[in-house]
Symmetry: C2
Subunit: 274 residues, 2 copies
Amino acid sequence: MPVEGLSINLATVRQQWDMRQAVDACLAQGITAIAPWRDQVAKIGLDEAARLVANNDLKVTGLCRGGMFPAADPAGRAAAIDDNKRAIDEACTLRADCLVLVVGGLPETSRDIVHAREMVADGIAAILPHARAAGMPLAIEPLHPMYAADRACVNTLAQALDICELLGDGVGVAIDVYHVWWDPDLARQIARAGAMGRILAHHICDWLVPTRDLLLDRGMMGDGVIDLKGIRAMIEAAGFHGHQEVEIFSAENWWKRPGEEVLATCVERFRTVC
Amino acid sequence: MPVEGLSINLATVRQQWDMRQAVDACLAQGITAIAPWRDQVAKIGLDEAARLVANNDLKVTGLCRGGMFPAADPAGRAAAIDDNKRAIDEACTLRADCLVLVVGGLPETSRDIVHAREMVADGIAAILPHARAAGMPLAIEPLHPMYAADRACVNTLAQALDICELLGDGVGVAIDVYHVWWDPDLARQIARAGAMGRILAHHICDWLVPTRDLLLDRGMMGDGVIDLKGIRAMIEAAGFHGHQEVEIFSAENWWKRPGEEVLATCVERFRTVC
């Protein structure tokens, strides 16, 4: 029986399986939507990944990830732009709904977050013509402020939407509850994103108390404190009715369990607490 | 030679010394401003702590901390209010510039951060008459969003200032660079806080890359990525020229070093990078 509306970001089972194995396991549990990471695609080859998608009629809710625009020198920034164009092409080959952008943090030795943010807007502007020509939407994913220095200096939905307004069509947002659940302005910004027609993805997991690692201690839906149903209601009221994509990095828990158990738990929690 | 404008939050040397020893060590290095925690005061006794302050003519830039207002039941909320009133009285006895409020996170089993935020505003409102009568300013400290669940659901300066506007005189903000440096709205909100006359404290440390622990891996000024001089300029331009208070929780580094070395480093960095 297919599980309607659920997508599995393959980072959730990256320690257990390669992309081919993960797809087989998803299909075995009725999951027909996925979101792979570029390294997972590269490992089996882009052509083989595209065949897996086409032959199994998979929905690809996003490709992770482009971004990482700020760099200390022009050569670094140019290299990032080239890599992002390749990522756009890969997303097209995989028929992904969007290319997710984790925009990057401060360049080495920099303390100038304002400048880093300018480099992000400039970088997205530079790849946007390529994305538009390819018909591939770019999804800026605001990351939790605890990643501002080293992963993404776009840290709120408001900030991401300001960039969308600045740059025009072809760019929107990926809303990951882990990154935005704390935001006092969340309800207003989700409504704004909907009114702008910019919601491209809805990622779910949970915030654990305590959280033991800044990166690799995300929780399974229902095990933490995020009001998943409440945020889902905001996103649906804003007009987005796409898949909820589970993305869990969990070095000490879910990555150590059998992949089948992880997927079965995702399905069960998706049906009960999301 | 006195170190003008530097205050040491005694949490910075809490593993090395009790309050009496910390005061002696500060004075030996020309540091005449401190901010103790209530448990440090309690350990030597409030009267003795007050004598230390008076006899040495110490500036007390704040008492840490009141707050922790949200609770699952009315009895819990009432207990928090009583405890905050005692904290106000202690801050008066110590002639502190303000009582710092770490407002609290989600009550046990709650996923309703909107309600927790209402409980915070209600709690501050409940203690404000006592604080006003005592002449003790309350300093809401917005905490980094990574503490939204378990320590403070006030996570931006904007949010703290909204509460100040709601409640009127007697309440302001403590601006800790560690908690706010990432905020895209920082410059505007610091200017707003200044225009409102609400800046009560300026805390400093640094954000390390990587940060290895959510709570106890703060960096010494200059060792991380925060634009300390830039934020100081914003705060001074907003009209606050009080002490910069060093507050470093560092289980694996500074708490393991000799206290004299920690203080000497604080002085040297204060003079060069802050």
